[in-house]
C-alpha cells in the first residue's frame, strides 16, 4: 500500500526529467523579447554551426510540416460570437506576446541548445503592444489578430430568470466592482515531455507531465497530421498540475523535433519559460449592480464581465470557454430572481490563458461573495445574515439554479453554521472591537462556495468521456485502469480503495496502472475524478464482482445469493468452511480447468474472463441537459486577519473551513485538497499577480517576484465536514478540490475589507499586496481628512 508515496519519498520518481532514453536529444524554446512585433527574418545558420546542435525549427518549418493547433472548444460552429485564430506553436509572421516561442533548438545537451539559441538572428519590427483589456476594446486599438477587425474573441450574453422584475422589486440598487489579478498555478515541476518517433512504424511514443493523455493524443496527432493510432502518450509522474497541464501546444513541437531528427527528444520547461508562456488565468473584471431588499434579500444582478485572454483562448488552451461557468456560477448558493451578464473574452499581447484550479466557476462565485460583503455593509447587517436569508434550503434539492445547473444535494445553513463555530466568529468580533481601541485592525471575513464539478460540455474536448477497466489476473490480483491520471491528488489511493471495497479484495492486492492514452477518457480537471472516472470504475468493479460470484457459485457449488467476498477470499455465508481465494478462482477460470470448465451458459455468452470495461455518464446531465456539471459540493470559509496599517502587511490569526463533499472516499485526501487549495487562494489574495507593463513586458518571471505562500505565510487550518450524499453518483460522493481556492481568496479579501472598515475602504481589486493596502489607506485618509 502507498507504493507511489514510498517511491516518491525515497527518490524513485518517474517524472519526465527522470526518464532517459538511449540516444536522447534535448529541446529548448527561444522566445521573443517583444510583446508585439513583425518577424522580418530569421537566420539560424550560426546556431546550426554549434557542435552538438541537431536541428532548429522555426515558424517556417511548422507551417510546412504541421497543421495549425486545433481549437479545444468551438461555439462559432453553433452561431455564437466565437473566433478561432489560425495559430501555430511557433510564431510565424509576427509575435503576439513577450516570450512567444520563435524557434525550437534540438541539441545533444540542453546547455548546448541554450548556447545556440543566443546565435539565432531574428530581425523584428516592433508593433504597438496592447496590455490593457479596456484599451484593447477601443475601436482604434492595435489588433492582435488583424483578420478579426477588433480584439474581441468571444462576446456572449447570459440572461437567467427575470432580471427586470428583480430590479423592479428592489428597495435598493448597489454597485459592485471587482477585479482579479492575473495569476496561475505554476506547480514546482514545470511542463515537459519526451517524444520518441519510430520512422519504420510511424509511431510517436510520448511521456508527458499531463493531466489528460487521451486528450493530448487527440490534440498532438491532429497538429502533426498523424493518425491517433500512431501517437501514444504515457502520463509520467506529475509534479503538480492544477489545470496548467491540460495543454499540449508545446508538446507538438517536441514531437515534431523527434520526427525531424529521428531521435528521442526531451523538453523540460524552465520556470522562467513557464511564467512567460504558461497557462495564465483569472485577470477578470466585473462591473455590476445588485438589486436588494432592505431585509437583505438579494433579488438580481446585472453585470458586465471582461476577461483578458492574452493571445487567444482556444488553441493553446481552453480558456475562452471558462466564461460560461463563470457567468453560470454567479447565483452560487442563493435564491435570486434574475441575472443578466454581458461577457467579453478579449485578446491582448499577453501570454496564453488556460485552466487554473477553479477554471471559470471560481470567478462567478467570488463576484457573488464580494457582493454579499458589500450588501451586508451597505445594509448594516452581518454577512452571514445575508447568506442565511438567501440560501437554498436543504429540502429544496435537487434544486434547479437560474443558470440551469441542477444542484444535487446540500445543507448550506449547516455548513455555514459549523464554520462560524469553528472559526469562533462571535468571539473574534468582540476581540475586534477591543483591538480597535488599541489601534489594531482585526477583520473577520467569510465566503461560501458551491462548486460545480464533473463537466460534460458539448462542442469541446471536455465532453464527459471516461472508461475504466478492472480485471482479476491469473494469479488472483486486481488490475485497475481508468482515465483518473494521478497528478498528486491521490487518485491511486482512492481508486485502489474504491475497487477493494466493492470487490472485497485486499487493498494490497490492487494494482493501479499508470494512465496512458490507451484508455479513452478526458483525464482529470474540473474535479471530475471522483465523478466520471470513479463512476466508470465503480460500474466495472460492480460488474466484475457479479461475475466473480457467478463463477465462484459454479466452482464452489453454492447459490450466488449466499456468496460474499472478504479480504480476497470468497466464502459461503451459509457454510463458512466453503471458501476459495480469489487466486484459486482465477486459476480455475484461466487455466485449471480454464474456460472449458465454465458452465455452458457462460461459454455461450462468451463470458469467460474476469475482465470488465465500463464507461459512465452523468445521470444529472442526462436527465437535466442544462446541468453541464454533475455534483455541486459546498464549502464555507472563515478568515480572521490583522492588517498592519503602517506597512500594509496582512497576518492570519485564524482560519476555518467546513466542506460538504458528499460521502467521503478518503478523508486524508479530501483534507489534503482542502489545505492546498486554501493556501493557493491565500496566495492569490495577498501576493500573487503577474504584472505586465504597458509595453507588454512581464515583470515577474520567477518565484522571487511572483510570490507563492511559504510555510511561514500559511496558517494552521481548522477543518470540519458535513456529508450530504449526492443522488447522482454511485456512492454519494461529490467532486471536490476547487471550492477551497475559491472560498479562501474571497474570505481573505472580505476579512481585509472588514479590518479596514474604519477607513471606509471598498476593495475592488486583488491581490491585496502591501503596496495596495497602503495605497487604499492613504487614499482613504486623504478622503476622510480633507
Amino acid at each position: 500500500m502507498k507504493e507511489r508515496e514510498r517511491r516518491l519519498v525515497s527518490g524513485n520518481g518517474f517524472y519526465v526529467d527522470d526518464i532517459e532514453l538511449p540516444n536522447m536529444a534535448h529541446c529548448i524554446f527561444a522566445g521573443s523579447p517583444y510583446a508585439h512585433a513583425r518577424i522580418k527574418s530569421i537566420d539560424a545558420s550560426r546556431a546550426l554551426e554549434v557542435s552538438g546542435v541537431l536541428a532548429v525549427i522555426t515558424g517556417r518549418e511548422v507551417v510546412e510540416l504541421m497543421d495549425p493547433l486545433p481549437a479545444t472548444s468551438n461555439y462559432g460552429a453553433i452561431g455564437w460570437h466565437w473566433r478561432i485564430p489560425k495559430a501555430y506553436p511557433l510564431a510565424v509572421d509576427k509575435v503576439r506576446y513577450q516570450g512567444e516561442p520563435v524557434a525550437a533548438i534540438i541539441a545533444e545537451h540542453p546547455y548546448i541548445a541554450l548556447d545556440a539559441a543566443e546565435l539565432i538572428d531574428i530581425e523584428f519590427e516592433q508593433l504597438p503592444p496592447i496590455s490593457d483589456v479596456n484599451q484593447a476594446m477601443r475601436p482604434e486599438s492595435p489588433l492582435v489578430y488583424e483578420e478579426w477587425g477588433d480584439n474581441i474573441q468571444v462576446h456572449l450574453e447570459f440572461n437567467f430568470g427575470d432580471v427586470d422584475e428583480a430590479f423592479k422589486e428592489a428597495d435598493r440598487v448597489i454597485r459592485v466592482s471587482w477585479h482579479e489579478g492575473r495569476v496561475s498555478g505554476f506547480p514546482i515541476e514545470s511542463r515537459g515531455c519526451i517524444a520518441s518517433y519510430d520512422r519504420i512504424t510511424g509511431m510517436l511514443n510520448m511521456w508527458s507531465s499531463t493531466q489528460a493523455p487521451f486528450l493530448g493524443r487527440q490534440y498532438i496527432s491532429s497538429a502533426l497530421r498523424l493518425p491517433t493510432t500512431k501517437v501514444r502518450i504515457v502520463a509520467a509522474d506529475v509534479g503538480g498540475a492544477f489545470g496548467n497541464k491540460v495543454n499540449w501546444w508545446k508538446d507538438t513541437v517536441v514531437g515534431l523535433g523527434s520526427i525531424v531528427t529521428e531521435r528521442p527528444v526531451k523538453w523540460v520547461e524552465s520556470k522562467k519559460e513557464f511564467f512567460l508562456t504558461g497557462a495564465h488565468n483569472r485577470d477578470v473584471t466585473w462591473d455590476g449592480e445588485v438589486a436588494v431588499r432592505n431585509d437583505g434579500s438579494i433579488l438580481g444582478v446585472k453585470a458586465k464581465f471582461l476577461k483578458d485572454l492574452g493571445v487567444e483562448g482556444t488553441n493553446r488552451g481552453s480558456a475562452a470557454m471558462g466564461i460560461i461557468p463563470a457567468c453560470c456560477s454567479v447565483a452560487n448558493a442563493y435564491h435570486l430572481k434574475g441575472i443578466r451578464i454581458e461577457a467579453y473574452g478579449v485578446v491582448t499581447n499577453k501570454s496564453p490563458y488556460c485552466a487554473y484550479r477553479g477554471y471559470g466557476k471560481d470567478k462567478g462565485i467570488k463576484f457573488m461573495e464580494r457582493i454579499i460583503q458589500v450588501v451586508a455593509h451597505e445594509l448594516e447587517l452581518e454577512p452571514e445574515q445575508i447568506r442565511f436569508r438567501n440560501f437554498i434550503q436543504p429540502d429544496e434539492f435537487p434544486y434547479k439554479q437560474l443558470s440551469g445547473y441542477v444542484y444535487d444535494s446540500g445543507d448550506y445553513p449547516a455548513v455555514l453554521g459549523k464554520v462560524l463555530e469553528l472559526g469562533e466568529v462571535s468571539s473574534w468580533r468582540q476581540k475586534q472591537e477591543q483591538a480597535r481601541k488599541q489601534g489594531k485592525y482585526i477583520g473577520v471575513g467569510m465566503a461560501f462556495s458551491v462548486e460545480p464539478a464533473g463537466v460534460a460540455a458539448p462542442h469541446c474536448i471536455f465532453g464527459g468521456l471516461t472508461q475504466a477497466r478492472v480485471r482479476i489476473t491469473s494469479d488472483g490480483l486486481v488490475e485497475v485502469e481508468n482515465d483518473q491520471t494521478e497528478i498528486g491528488q491521490g487518485s491511486n489511493t482512492t481508486r485502489a480503495k474504491v475497487v477493494a471495497n466493492i470487490l472485497g479484495a485486499k487493498l494490497d492486492d490492487i494494482e493501479v496502472k499508470r494512465d496512458s492514452s490507451d484508455m479513452p477518457g478526458s483525464g482529470v480537471y474540473s474535479s471530475r475524478g471522483a465523478i466520471y472516472p470513479t463512476g466508470a470504475l465503480i460500474r466495472a468493479a460492480t460488474e466484475l464482482k457479479a461475475r466473480v460470484i457467478k463463477f465462484a457459485s459454479h466452482f464452489m457449488n453454492e447459490e450466488p445469493a449466499h456468496i460474499d467476498i472478504n479480504d480476497s477470499v470468497i466464502h459461503s455465508t451459509k457454510e463458512p468452511t466453503k471458501r476459495m481465494s480469489l487466486k484459486e478462482l482465477a486459476d480455475c477460470v484461466y487455466f485449471h480447468p480454464g474456460p472449458r470448465g465454465l458452465p455452458q451458459e457462460m461459454q455461450a455468452k462468451h463470458e469467460v474472463l474476469l475482465d470488465v470495461c465500463a464507461s459512465w455518464f452523468s445521470p444529472n446531465t442526462a436527465q437535466n441537459p442544462t446541468s453541464t456539471y454533475t455534483t455541486y459540493c459546498s464549502g464555507a470559509d472563515v478568515a480572521v486577519v490583522e492588517v498592519d496599517v503602517e506597512t500594509g502587511a496582512v497576518s492570519i490569526l485564524k482560519y476555518a473551513h467546513v466542506h460538504d463533499a458528499g460521502t467521503l472516499l478518503d478523508k486524508d485526501i479530501v483534507e489534503g485538497q482542502i489545505f492546498g487549495g486554501i493556501v493557493q487562494g491565500i496566495g492569490e489574495a495577498l501576493s500573487e499577480e503577474l504584472v505586465y507593463t504597458r509595453s507588454g513586458e512581464l515583470l515577474n518571471t520567477s518565484y522571487t517576484d511572483y510570490v507563492i505562500p511559504t510555510a511561514q505565510d500559511s496558517p494552521d487550518i481548522v477543518i470540519g465536514h458535513v456529508e450530504t450524499p449526492s443522488p447522482f453518483t454511485e456512492l454519494g460522493q461529490k467532486g471536490m478540490g476547487e471550492a477551497p481556492i475559491i472560498g479562501s481568496k474571497a474570505a481573505m479579501i472580505n476579512a481585509i475589507e472588514d479590518a479596514l472598515s474604519p477607513f471606509k475602504i471598498r476593495i475592488t481589486e486583488s491581490p491585496a499586496t502591501r503596496e495596495r493596502v497602503r495605497k487604499w489607506i492613504s487614499e482613504s485618509q486623504r478622503r476622510l481628512i480633507p
Binding site: 502507498k2 507511489r4 508515496e5 514510498r6 516518491l8 519519498v9 525515497s10 527518490g11 524513485n12 520518481g13 517524472y15 526529467d17 527522470d18 546547455y111 498555478g185 505554476f186 506547480p187 514546482i188 515541476e189 509522474d237 506529475v238 509534479g239 503538480g240 498540475a241 492544477f242 523540460v268 524552465s270 520556470k271 497528478i487 498528486g488 491528488q489 491521490g490 486524508d668 485526501i669 483534507e671 489534503g672 482542502i674 489545505f675 492546498g676 487549495g677 486554501i678 493556501v679 493557493q680 520567477s702 518565484y703 522571487t704 507563492i708 511559504t710 510555510a711 511561514q712 505565510d713 500559511s714 494552521d716 487550518i717
Partner: protein, 160 residues
C-alpha cells in the same frame, strides 16, 4: 571546459570530470543518476533540489561544480538503511504529507537537518525552518504534522 572533482555522495567516493558550468544539481542528476534531487526553479527559490553539503542544507542548483570538490553530499537516498525507509520518510507517508511528491525529497532533507540540529522547536520556528522549500499542493499542514511526528520518532530513539 571540464574540471576534475572528487566528492563523497551518500558515503561513496566519486572522481569525476565535469563541465565547469555544471551545477551540483547537474552532477547529481546527470553524472550520478541520483534523481531524487529535483530541478524546480534553478534559481535557489523553491528548494526542490535541497541536499546536505558537508552537513548543511543547500540548493544544489546554486552550487557550481568546482565548489563540490572535496565536499560530502547527502541526498534522500543516503537516508535509506538497506533500502529501508527512514523514520522521517515513514512519518511523511503516514501523515499524508506527499501529494505530487516533487518538493518532497527537498523538504525531507531540510527537515532532517532541522531535526538533527534543533532539539526543540515551536510550530512557528518549524514553519520558518522550511520556508525555503515551496510546496504548491499541501498548504504545508500535513508536512508540518509529519515533521512533528518524525520528531516523536526521533525522541523515542526510532532514528538514524
Amino acid at each position: 571546459m571540464k574540471v576534475p572533482i572528487e566528492t563523497k555522495v551518500n558515503n561513496k567516493t566519486y572522481k569525476l570530470e565535469v563541465e565547469a558550468r555544471f551545477t551540483l544539481l547537474d552532477i547529481l542528476r546527470e553524472e550520478l543518476k541520483i534523481k531524487s534531487v529535483h530541478r524546480g526553479c534553478e534559481h535557489g527559490e523553491c528548494g526542490a533540489c535541497t541536499v546536505l553539503l558537508s552537513g548543511k542544507p543547500v540548493c544544489s542548483c546554486l552550487v557550481l561544480a568546482p565548489q563540490v570538490d572535496g565536499a560530502e553530499i547527502t541526498t534522500v537516498e543516503g537516508l535509506l538503511k538497506d533500502k529501508e525507509l527512514h523514520p522521517l520518510m515513514m512519518a511523511f507517508i503516514e501523515n499524508h504529507a506527499i501529494q505530487c511528491g516533487y518538493c518532497t525529497p527537498g523538504v525531507i532533507m531540510m527537515a532532517y537537518y532541522l531535526l538533527n540540529n534543533r532539539p526543540e522547536f515551536t510550530d512557528e520556528e518549524l514553519r520558518k525552518g522550511i520556508a525555503g522549500n515551496l510546496c504548491r499542493c499541501t498548504g504545508y499542514v500535513h508536512i508540518i504534522r509529519a515533521i512533528k511526528a518524525a520528531k516523536e520518532y526521533k525522541d523515542s530513539g526510532n532514528w538514524w
